[in-house]
């Protein structure tokens, strides 16, 4: 599941903090960030400063319920579980 272009990164990450389980961001280069950790959020911000890296990454949910919380920020397609 991909993130929509032009989202507000801070609002997105704040919403991630509300999720009950882990939310992963995976880049095509193989980076895997658990977005509830502060350091991972900082890394995500740095990666997100390049729109290409940002939109080519995939979001995965440990708990599918959390997907609803982030639906405003995600492209409409089936989410992946891990």
């Amino acid at each position: 599941m991909h993130i929509k272009p032009d989202i507000h990164v801070v609002d997105f990450l704040k919403q991630v903090r509300k999720c009950r389980s882990e939310v992963l961001f995976e880049t095509p280069e193989g980076d895997r960030l658990a977005l509830k950790s502060t350091l991972s959020q900082y890394i995500f911000c740095t990666i997100a400063s390049n729109p290409l890296h940002f939109q080519s990454g995939t979001i995965r949910f440990e708990n599918e319920e959390d997907q609803k919380l982030l639906s405003d920020f995600l492209e409409a397609e089936t989410g992946h579980r891990f």
Binding site: E29, T38, L39, Y42, T46, H53
Partner: protein
């Protein structure tokens, strides 16, 4: 200069020493200088600020606190936040940071980053971002906060007025950098002044404490953990306070019990901000207890106030006329009341206090005897020497010879 020009100038001054970014926000936390290109490092800093500081800033504004806020996160990154108000409404928020609190904060950050096993391209980008963050001792950041507050509001405050972000749920691990010189000049004197004020229960002890803080950020040792260092420094302050409180009239059992209580509080702190807050609480508690003990004695509030006044103005020429006026009594009544309550005359009391101060200057500075005599308004060197000899049994030079601390 208008505010923007002052802020620009302030940033240029800081940039002379450190690459410490200054950002301005609207009260709703929208970046004011939004002309920063999206790929700029400062844009990342601004995002960090919103992520790490947003809740603390909102809570600070909601509480109506106008003094600067000091925030440190568990990764060892520190920010200073200064608030701009127009009448009663927040008009702007100015942030200085991030900075590392200590030498190995960056190393700790690197270790954490290594755990993420990032790809080469992300790694370069992320490390570049964390590498440009400067390492600045917390005491210096406190001074920057005071200066930025003055720059924004035009109001002078001291480091005692800083507020610290509450609550931390994660551990922080970092170490302090040693940027202070190898000398301890002036610290002992400032410390003695602070303890004298504490012993008297003088509410103006904060000024003396600020002087101590400006000269030193604590004992010099490096265990590679700035939080441990902050806690140890706080425990040194606690020990000084508890012993001084006993001299000030608090019973040893109360002073020691409080000592244990506050030591536990310090050990439980999860970041430097919490340790600083604990220090303020413990000093204030000891001062209030000393004041309570003093008030139990025969000395009335008015005479205690005059004693405090004498302590603050010890360097000036003090007369009974002036002190009586200050207390709101006639000279005759004031002199009698003072002697009844303290057991000595006003003149003897002032002389004794001046001699105490002279002892500090003789042992803690290199000022000449003439300079000390002038500093304490004795009138002449010979009068100072004879008064000193009468009180202590030693001449000023003999006293210095035996007690020099430098």
């Amino acid at each position: 200069m208008n505010l923007q020009e002052r802020l620009d100038f302030f940033q240029q001054l800081i940039q002379c020493s450190h690459n410490l970014p200054l950002h301005s926000y609207e009260p709703e936390l929208i970046l004011t200088n939004s002309d920063i290109p999206p790929e700029a490092a400062s844009r990342d800093d601004a995002t960090f600020i919103l992520l790490s500081l947003g809740d603390s800033i909102r809570s600070h504004i909601e509480k109506g606190i106008r003094e600067p806020l000091f925030v440190d996160d568990h990764l060892g990154l520190i920010w200073i936040v200064v608030f701009e108000y127009e009448k009663n409404l927040p008009r702007g928020i100015h942030t200085l940071g991030p900075a590392y609190s200590g030498r190995n904060s960056y190393q700790n950050m690197k270790k954490e980053l290594d755990k993420h096993d990032l790809s080469v391209s992300s790694r370069i980008k992320v490390f570049k971002m964390f590498e440009h963050i400067p390492i600045i001792p917390t005491s210096q950041l406190f001074q920057y906060a005071v200066m930025l507050h003055y720059c924004v509001t035009g109001r002078r405050i001291t480091t005692n007025d800083l507020h610290f972000a509450e609550k931390s749920t994660q551990k922080q691990s970092s170490s302090e950098i040693h940027l202070i010189t190898e000398e301890h000049r002036g610290i002992w004197l400032a410390e003695q002044e602070f303890m004298n004020m504490l012993r008297e229960g003088n509410p103006n002890y904060l000024d003396a404490l600020a002087r101590c803080s400006s000269l030193s950020d604590g004992p010099r040792f490096d265990v590679g953990d700035s939080l441990r260092r902050a806690k140890s420094t706080s425990i040194v302050l606690l020990t000084l306070c508890s012993r001084t409180a006993i001299e000030g009239g608090v019973t040893p059992s109360v002073a020691y019990t409080l000592n244990d209580y506050y030591m536990q509080m310090i050990e439980d702190c999860k970041n430097i901000a919490e340790a600083s807050t604990a220090c303020h609480i413990l000093v204030e508690d000891y001062v209030q207890r000393i004041q309570q003990e003093k008030s139990k004695n025969a000395v009335s509030g008015q005479i205690q106030n005059i004693c405090n006044y004498i302590a603050i103005h010890i360097k000036e020429k003090l007369t009974i006329t002036q002190l009586a006026k200050q207390a709101g009594y006639t000279e005759y009544y004031f002199s009698h009341k003072f002697k009844n309550e303290t057991g000595c005359s006003v003149a003897d009391y002032i002389k004794r206090e001046k001699i105490q101060q002279a002892k500090l200057l003789l042992s803690g500075t290199k000022m000449s005897i003439q300079e000390i005599s002038d500093e304490l308004s004795f009138g002449s060197r010979s009068y100072f020497s004879s008064s000193f000899q009468k009180e202590t049994g030693l001449s000023p030079s003999e006293y210095r010879e035996q007690n020099m601390k430098l």
